[in-house]
C-alpha cells in the first residue's frame, strides 16, 4: 500500500463567530506540515482537511486548530449509515405525530363548523338565531384551524413567494385565504354587502374543511411515502451490530461494528451474521447470501473464498480476515447504488417536470381569470360569491403534487425491490431503457455457461474401479495449479471421496502432471503426454475419447503405472437455469441472440441446448461491441448481457448493459444494471421489473394529467353553461387529497412484484 496517499478527514470546529474566524482556522490548518488542503465552512462549522498520513495525523490537525484559538468537538465514532437513518426517522416520526395532531384538530372543529353553517339553510331556524352571532361563533371556531392546523400552508406559501417559487401550499393558502378573508369581511361588515344587494355569506365551512381534507391527504401521503423507502431501510438494517474479533493473544471479544478494522480476524458461529467483508481463513460453512444476491440456496464457503457482511452463516463456524469495512463493503455499495438510482430522474418524467415547474403560477393566473369572468358574466346579486367559489375551487383542485410524485415513487419502490432480488439498477434511465428492449444479446461464456470448466464425462477402462481411479487422479490434481485440475478436484469432491496423499508431484508443462499415490505412479494429461510417455490406450477408451472430442470437449487421459486406464472430459457447462430463463425471455416476445468465441459446431450445440436459434460464432473479444452495433443496425433495442471487464465496451454500447455475476465488484461502470446472481434468471427479473415499473409510471402520469386537465376546467365552471355543473371547493379538496394518495398507492403495488 502506498503510505503517502493523502487522506481526508472532517473536523467539527468549535468557537467560530464569523467568516473571518473560518478563514483563520483554514489558514492555520493549511500551514500545518503534511496538510495538502483545508476548507473550513463557517455555516456547518466543519473543516475538511486533506493530509498526508505519514506527516500529519488527526491529532496534529486538532492541535493546529487549538493553537489558533478554537476547539475541535470530539465526534462519536463514525456514525454508521444506519444510525444516521435512525436519527432522520426519529425526526420524521415526530413530524408525522405533529401532522396527525393538526389534522385531528382540523377534523374536530370542522365537524362542529359544518352543521352550524347548515343552519342557514333552514329559514325557520334562521328566524330565531342571530346570524351575526352565529358568524362570530364560526369565525372563532375557524381561527384555530387556520392558525394551528393550516399554519404550515401560509408560512410555506409566503416563503415560497419570496423565492419566486410557488408550490402546492401556495394554492391552498391563496384559496383558503381568499375564502376566509371574504367571510371575515362579511362577518365584520355585513352592512357593506347588504347595501349593495348582496347576501353577506360566509365560507368558514369551506375554509376549515379544505384544510382538514388537505391534511388528510398529507397524513396518508406521509404514511405511503415511508413505505416507498422501506427497501433501503431493510438493507441498512441487515448490517451486523457487533463482531467477535480475535485478538493477537487469541482471546475473542465482541466489539461494535464501527471499531472493526482492516486485517482483523473475526469469528462467525452458525446462525450469526457475517460482520463485514473478508476472506475466509479457516473452517467451512454454508452461507445464505440471499439478502445480497437474491440467490436462495446457501453458498458453500472454504478457506480462500470471499465472505460478505450482512450475509447469514448457516452451518459451520469459521474465521475470516477483514478486507473491507464501512463504505467499501458490498452492502454499503449496494445501498449507495440503490440510493443513487432513486435520486436519478427517468426521461419519462421530463415532461411532468416541465409541467410542474410552470404549473402553479399558471394555475394562479387561470384562477384570477376565472374570478374575473364569473364576476363579469354572472347575475349581479350572486356574482361575487360565485366568482369566489370558483376561484377557490380552481386553486384547490389544481395542486400538481400527484404529477411530481408519479415517477419518483415508482422508481423508489422498484429499485428497492430489484435489490431484494439481486438486481441492482443504476439509474431510472436504465430502468426505462430495459423496458424498451426487444433483443437480448448473451455472451455465452459465464452467462449461459458457468464460465469455468467442469468434468462432464469420466470413463474407466474395463476391469478398473472407477471410484478408486478418480480418487487417485484427484490426489495428483490437488497438487496442481492448472485450471483443469481444479475442475477434476471439484468433481471428485462432489462425490465425497476421501483425499489421498500424493508424493513426488511433478508438473509436465504443456502435457499434464504426475505423482505417486499409495505406491502407484499416476499420470494425467493430454494426448501429448500419452505420446511422450509412449502409453497406449485400449480400443474402447480410444473410441470414447474420439467421441468426446467430437463434442468439442477437452479430453484428459489417465495412466497408472504406464497403463492407459481412463479418460475424463472437461467442458464449460450450461447453467441449470439458463434454458428456463431464455424460454421466459422468449415468451415475453424478446429475441435471444448468443455470441461466442467458440467454433460454429460448439456454438450450435450450446444454442440448441438452451433453445436459441440465432447465434454468432467465432466472435473475437474485440468484435463483441460490433455485434451489438450490427443488431442495433437492424433497428433493434439491444440489451447486452456480459460477465465482466472484457465485455465492457459491448455493455456500454448496448442500449442497456447487464453485468452478470459481478458479485465481487459492484461498481460496474459500463453496465446500467448489475445482477448479483450469476445466472440468467436475473435478466428475466430485471426486464420484468422494468416493464412493470414503466406500466405503473404511465398509469400514474395518466391519472395525474387527466385529473388536472379535467379538474381545472370543471372547477373553473366551464361546464356550467352546458350542464349547470360547478365544483364545490370542498369536493375539489377531497379529490386533490386523494390524487397524490392514489398515485402513491399505485406505486406501492410494485412491492408485490415477485420474480418468477
Amino acid at each position: 500500500m502506498n503510505t503517502s496517499a493523502p487522506e481526508t478527514t472532517t473536523l467539527d470546529i468549535e468557537g467560530m463567530t464569523c467568516a473571518s474566524c473560518a478563514a483563520f482556522v483554514e489558514k492555520s490548518l493549511t500551514r500545518t506540515p503534511g496538510v495538502q488542503s483545508a476548507l473550513v465552512n463557517y455555516a456547518t462549522e466543519k473543516a475538511t482537511v486533506q493530509y498526508l498520513p505519514d506527516q500529519a495525523s488527526p491529532n496534529t490537525l486538532k492541535e493546529a486548530v487549538v493553537k489558533a484559538g478554537y476547539g475541535v468537538t470530539e465526534r462519536a465514532p463514525d456514525t454508521s449509515a444506519a444510525d444516521r437513518q435512525a436519527a432522520i426517522d426519529k425526526q420524521k416520526a415526530q413530524a408525522y405525530q405533529q401532522l396527525k395532531r393538526r389534522f385531528w384538530v382540523a377534523v374536530g372543529l370542522s365537524v362542529v363548523i359544518m352543521p352550524l353553517s347548515m343552519l342557514m339553510l333552514w329559514p325557520a331556524l334562521m328566524q330565531r338565531i342571530n346570524m351575526q352571532t352565529l358568524n362570530y361563533l364560526l369565525l372563532l371556531l375557524t381561527l384555530p384551524v387556520l392558525l394551528y392546523s393550516g399554519r404550515e400552508f401560509y408560512a410555506s406559501a409566503w416563503n415560497g413567494f419570496r423565492h419566486r417559487a410557488a408550490n402546492m401550499d401556495t394554492l391552498i393558502a391563496v384559496g383558503t385565504g381568499a375564502a376566509f378573508l371574504y367571510s371575515l369581511a362579511a362577518t365584520v361588515a355585513p352592512g357593506w354587502f347588504t347595501n349593495r344587494g348582496l347576501m353577506p355569506e360566509v365560507y368558514y365551512d369551506t375554509t376549515a374543511t379544505i384544510i382538514a381534507l388537505i391534511l388528510l391527504g398529507k397524513v396518508l401521503e406521509q404514511r405511503a411515502k415511508t413505505q416507498t423507502s422501506a427497501a433501503i431501510k431493510t438493507l441498512l438494517g441487515l448490517q451486523a451490530k457487533t463482531a467477535r474479533v480475535v485478538r493477537p493473544g487469541g482471546q475473542e471479544i465482541d466489539v461494535p461494528i464501527e471499531q472493526v478494522q482492516l486485517h482483523d480476524v473475526i469469528v462467525v458461529r452458525p446462525g450469526e451474521k457475517v460482520a463485514t467483508d473478508g476472506v475466509l481463513l479457516e473452517g467451512t460453512s454454508a452461507v445464505d447470501e440471499a439478502m445480497l444476491t437474491g440467490e436462495s440456496l446457501p453458498v458453500e464457503k472454504q478457506p480462500g473464498d470471499p465472505v460478505f457482511g450482512a450475509t447469514l452463516n448457516k452451518t459451520g463456524s469459521f474465521r475470516f480476515r477483514v478486507t473491507k469495512v464501512g463504505a467499501d463493503t458490498m452492502l454499503a455499495q449496494i445501498v449507495k447504488l440503490v440510493e443513487d438510482a432513486q435520486g436519478s430522474r427517468a426521461p419519462i418524467q421530463r415532461l411532468a417536470d416541465k409541467v410542474s415547474a410552470i404549473f402553479v403560477p399558471t394555475v394562479i393566473v387561470i384562477a384570477i381569470l376565472t374570478f374575473v369572468l364569473w364576476f363579469d358574466l354572472a347575475p349581479v346579486e350572486s356574482r361575487l360569491p360565485l366568482a369566489l367559489v370558483n376561484f377557490v375551487a380552481v386553486l384547490i383542485i389544481a395542486c400538481p403534487c400527484a404529477l411530481g410524485l408519479a415517477t419518483p415513487t415508482a422508481i423508489m419502490v422498484s429499485t428497492g425491490k430489484g435489490a431484494e432480488h439481486g438486481v441492482l439498477i443504476r439509474s431510472a434511465e436504465a430502468l426505462e431503457k430495459a423496458y424498451q428492449v426487444n433483443t437480448v444479446l448473451l455472451d455465452k461464456t459465464g452467462t449461459i455457461t458457468r464460465g469455468e470448466p467442469a468434468v462432464t464425462d469420466f470413463a474407466a477402462a474395463p476391469g478398473q474401479d472407477a471410484a478408486r481411479l478418480l480418487q487417485l487422479v484427484a490426489a495428483v490434481e490437488r497438487q496442481s495449479e492448472h485450471p483443469l485440475a481444479a475442475a477434476v478436484v471439484r468433481y471428485a469432491d462432489a462425490q465425497h471421496y476421501t483425499a489421498l496423499p500424493a508424493t513426488d508431484f511433478r508438473a509436465v508443462a504443456g502435457h499434464g502432471a504426475a505423482a505417486t499415490v499409495e505406491g502407484q505412479t499416476v499420470l494425467i494429461g493430454n494426448r501429448r503426454l500419452l505420446t511422450a510417455e509412449a502409453i497406449a490406450l485400449t480400443p474402447e477408451l480410444e473410441t470414447h475419447a474420439q467421441q468426446l472430442l467430437s463434442q468439442a470437449k477437452t479430453v484428459l487421459y489417465v495412466a497408472i503405472d504406464g497403463q492407459g486406464v481412463g479418460v475424463l472430459a472437461v467442458a464449460d457447462t450450461v447453467r441449470d437455469t439458463s434454458a428456463a430463463a431464455i424460454r421466459q425471455l422468449q415468451q415475453q416476445g424478446i429475441e435471444v441472440v448468443m455470441m461466442t468465441g467458440d467454433n460454429p459446431q460448439t456454438a450450435a450445440a450450446v444454442a440448441g441446448q438452451v433453445g436459441i436459434t440465432r447465434y454468432f460464432a467465432e466472435v473475437l473479444p474485440q468484435d463483441k461491441a460490433s455485434k451489438v452495433l450490427e443488431l442495433q443496425a437492424e433497428g433493434r433495442t439491444v440489451a447486452m448481457v456480459g460477465d465482466g471487464i472484457n465485455d465492457a465496451p459491448a455493455l456500454a454500447l448496448a442500449d442497456i448493459g447487464l453485468a452478470i455475476g459481478a458479485g465481487t465488484d459492484v461498481a460496474m461502470e459500463a453496465a446500467g444494471i448489475t445482477l448479483m446472481r450469476s445466472d440468467l434468471q436475473g435478466v428475466v427479473t430485471a426486464i420484468a421489473l422494468s416493464r412493470q415499473t414503466i406500466r405503473v409510471i404511465r398509469q400514474n402520469l395518466f391519472f395525474a394529467f387527466i385529473y388536472n386537465t379535467l379538474g381545472i376546467p370543471v372547477a373553473a365552471g366551464l361546464l356550467y353553461p352546458v350542464f349547470g355543473w360547478l365544483l364545490s371547493p370542498m369536493l375539489a379538496a377531497g379529490a386533490m387529497a386523494l390524487s397524490s394518495v392514489s398515485v402513491l398507492t399505485n406505486s406501492l403495488r410494485l412491492r408485490g412484484f415477485t420474480a418468477r
Binding site: 488542503s37 476548507l39 425526526q91 408560512a155 413567494f161 423565492h163 402546492m168 410542474s356 393566473v365
Partner: protein, 125 residues
C-alpha cells in the same frame, strides 16, 4: 359593464400579469461559489419555501460542496433531488446537510424538492 366590473377586470388582468412577470420574467440573482484553498467550491444554501440562493455558479472540474440548511419543518422541502448527479437526500429540519459533487461538464443542472416544486439550479462554467 358597470364600474365595479371594469375595476375587477382591470385589477384581475393586472394581477395576472404581475404573477406571470414575478414568477417567470423577473431577474434572478446569481451567486458564485466561494473557492476554498483546497479547490473546493463551497456554497451555503438556506431552504425555506425555496432555495436561497437559487442560482449558483460553479467552476467546471472542481469539487463542489453545497451545504443545505433547512430552516423549516414544512414537508415540501424535506427531500432534495439533483437528478443529473443522481443525488437524493433527506434534509432534516433545522440541520445542515452536506452534498458534495464533482461537475465534469458545463451546463445548467437543476435541483428540486421531492415533488419538483421548489427549484434551483447549478450553473457549471
Amino acid at each position: 359593464m358597470d364600474t365595479t366590473e371594469i375595476l375587477v377586470t382591470l385589477g384581475g388582468l393586472g394581477l395576472a400579469a404581475y404573477v406571470i412577470w414575478y414568477f417567470f420574467f423577473s431577474t434572478r440573482h446569481i451567486t458564485t461559489a466561494v473557492s476554498g484553498s483546497g479547490g473546493i467550491q463551497a456554497v451555503a444554501i438556506t431552504v425555506k419555501g425555496g432555495y436561497s440562493p437559487d442560482v449558483i455558479e460553479v467552476e467546471w472540474g472542481q469539487p463542489v460542496q453545497l451545504s443545505f440548511y433547512r430552516a423549516e419543518d414544512n414537508s415540501c422541502s424535506e427531500e432534495l433531488l439533483i437528478p443529473d448527479f443522481s443525488i437524493r437526500r433527506e434534509l432534516p429540519a433545522f440541520q445542515t446537510t452536506l452534498v458534495e459533487l464533482l461537475p465534469q461538464q458545463a451546463g445548467r443542472f437543476e435541483f428540486t424538492c421531492g415533488m419538483g416544486m421548489l427549484r434551483g439550479s447549478l450553473v457549471v462554467k
